[in-house]
């Protein structure tokens, strides 16, 4: 059975003055897919993500996210997506509980429902005892897991993860990916950027950008076959160098 398309971009172009940051991007992401969005620094990934999240308008092209038009329905898009990056995720000077309350409020989740979901979340992450601790006092690994759980607290159709695992230890990094797999298994589409090439292997499909263009897009297995590479690191080096 063909899966439902959740993101579609056709001839997406974004220019800043004479500089073309996104040069004719065409791609689709299916529901429940883990989609890896790779590229060198400055290749145009962040520009594209900002557009897909409804934070910036393309210069031209047709883009739909979660069934909504990127030009006219950005508010609806924002309600249906979650976002997390390493740079910005949670408020350091609020407690765990306060952060959850804040996000639930922003997404219009009622008090009753929030209490149930908060209890579930805290139990799953084993954070019940520390729920009144400030985020700033938590180890990085806990913060990241919590930030991800908060980003999907309102059951979005898609979650965007912009380099979510930078700097964490290898065990925590893998535990983080367990959460990603679980979310995808539950039908949430995951759109993720990373500099760890082993993480590219965890994705269902991967696109690799270079100088504003998508140079390759396929499953990791097919990309390795096509570029005669033993791992994604080699594929990436062949395309982006």
């Amino acid at each position: 059975m063909e899966k439902e398309t959740i993101i579609s971009a056709r001839n997406l172009i974004k220019k800043f003055g004479h500089f073309t940051a996104n040069d004719n991007l065409t791609f689709e992401v299916k529901k429940g897919e883990i989609f890896g969005f790779l590229g060198a620094n400055g290749a145009g990934k962040t520009t594209a993500i900002r557009i897909l999240c409804g934070l910036s308008s393309p210069t031209s092209g047709e883009v739909k996210v979660a069934g909504f038009d990127i030009y006219h329905e950005t508010e609806k898009i924002k309600k249906n997506i979650g976002y997390m990056s390493q740079k910005f995720s949670l408020y350091e000077d609020l407690t765990i509980s306060e952060n959850i309350k804040l996000y639930a409020g922003i997404y219009g989740i009622g008090r009753k429902q929030r209490k149930v979901k908060e209890a579930e979340l805290l139990q799953k992450l084993e954070l019940e005892k520390v729920k009144n601790k400030l985020i700033g006092d938590l180890p990085l690994g806990w913060k990241q897991k919590l930030a991800f759980s908060v980003a999907i607290f309102h059951d979005p159709k898609i979650v965007f993860l912009d380099e979510p695992t930078g700097g964490v230890d290898p065990v925590t990094r893998r535990k983080f990916w367990d959460l990603i797999y679980e979310a995808a298994h539950n039908g949430i589409t995951v759109f993720v950027t990373t500099h760890y090439m082993d993480e590219a292997e965890y994705c269902d499909r991967v696109s690799i950008m270079n100088a504003g263009k998508i140079e390759a897009l396929d499953t990791p297995a097919k990309l390795k076959e096509k570029y005669k590479a033993t791992n994604m690191d080699e594929v990436f080096l062949k395309i982006a160098r």
Partner: protein, 300 residues
């Protein structure tokens, strides 16, 4: 070249470093490998005379980091984790500034930075703040080298940098090592360990092991089985549910499986997975990588 004896450092109740002992030989490319919060930057700042240890001592080329800090500052090159050049000075002005502060000129030591600097020279009138990430990094490295230091210390130079630029950066470090500079570099990327002569694995302010990357992995006693199958999510869950599973971690397109007392055989895992309906099953014993070792040491 670098001797570290029993260094400890705490920030209020948090113990950042607890009794670090480490030696780096002359001409070595030495890696400090560990995640955020392991204590890498604290140790580096102590060595760079920017932070005082609570106890213990450290010497660089025989000079004490507390008593001889002025001498040390003249002979080390330091590239901090955060970009710390003058954003509103041009590329050229920054370089000249650092040369002048160290009582030298760009011309005098141009040989050392040529291979790095020529890549950004076309932009020498551009303000440092307007450079791309990769160019900033090259400028910072040029400035750290302009006084021809004996020891070069880099704090996470490749964090957040893409795989291609990371590779190029390590090539630059190798070239500098060939010119006789002792290099201490920290990184959270485990795969970069293989590019160092020796590494210290560091976690929670403690050193887990110090050795060449090859010896670290060679001496690892555990049996690791690499397992692959069509559906990774199900594969990992099923492997974890196996009664003799001790640790199961995703590694790229495979999972790495460690059994209790290493008593699990590949053939037995294959059978187990076949019965659960997995397709395209692969199970083979493989030598450990640095990440396998790090995770195993972490969990002890």
């Amino acid at each position: 070249m670098i001797e570290i004896n029993n260094i400890t450092k705490s920030y209020k109740e948090t113990k950042a470093l607890s009794g670090i002992n480490l030696n780096v030989d002359e001409g070595e490319l030495f890696g400090l490998i560990g995640p955020d919060g392991a204590g890498k930057s604290t140790l580096i700042r102590i060595l760079m005379t920017l932070l005082l240890p609570d106890s213990g001592e450290a010497k660089l080329d025989g000079l004490d980091v507390v008593k001889n800090y002025k001498h040390i500052r003249k002979m080390v090159g330091y590239m901090p984790g955060r970009f710390s050049l003058y954003q509103d000075l041009s590329v050229e002005e920054n370089l000249n500034f650092f040369a002048t502060v160290f009582g030298t000129t760009v011309e005098e030591n141009y040989d050392l930075i040529r291979d790095i600097y020529y890549q950004i020279e076309p932009f020498k009138t551009r303000r440092a703040g307007k450079l791309s990430g990769g160019m900033k990094q090259k400028l910072a490295l040029s400035c750290a080298l302009i006084h021809k230091p004996k020891i070069l210390v880099l704090d996470e130079p490749t964090t957040g940098v893409d795989a291609v630029s990371r590779k190029e950066f390590w090539e630059m470090l190798k070239n500098l090592q060939e010119k006789g500079i002792t290099i201490l570099v920290s990184t959270p990327y485990m795969d970069e360990a293989d590019l160092c002569d020796r590494v210290a694995l560091i976690q929670n302010g403690q050193i887990l092991d110090v050795d060449s990357p090859k010896r670290i992995t060679d001496k690892f006693p555990r049996k690791i089985i690499q397992v692959g199958a069509q559906n990774m999510y199900k594969l990992i869950n099923d492997l974890r549910a196996y009664k003799k599973a001790e640790a199961v971690y995703a590694f790229g397109q495979f999972a790495h499986f460690t059994g209790f007392n290493d008593e699990v055989e590949t053939i037995e895992l294959e059978g187990y997975l076949q019965n659960l309906g997995h397709e395209k099953i692969i199970a083979e014993e493989i030598p450990a990588g640095i990440e396998d070792v790090f995770m195993s040491l972490m969990e002890q």
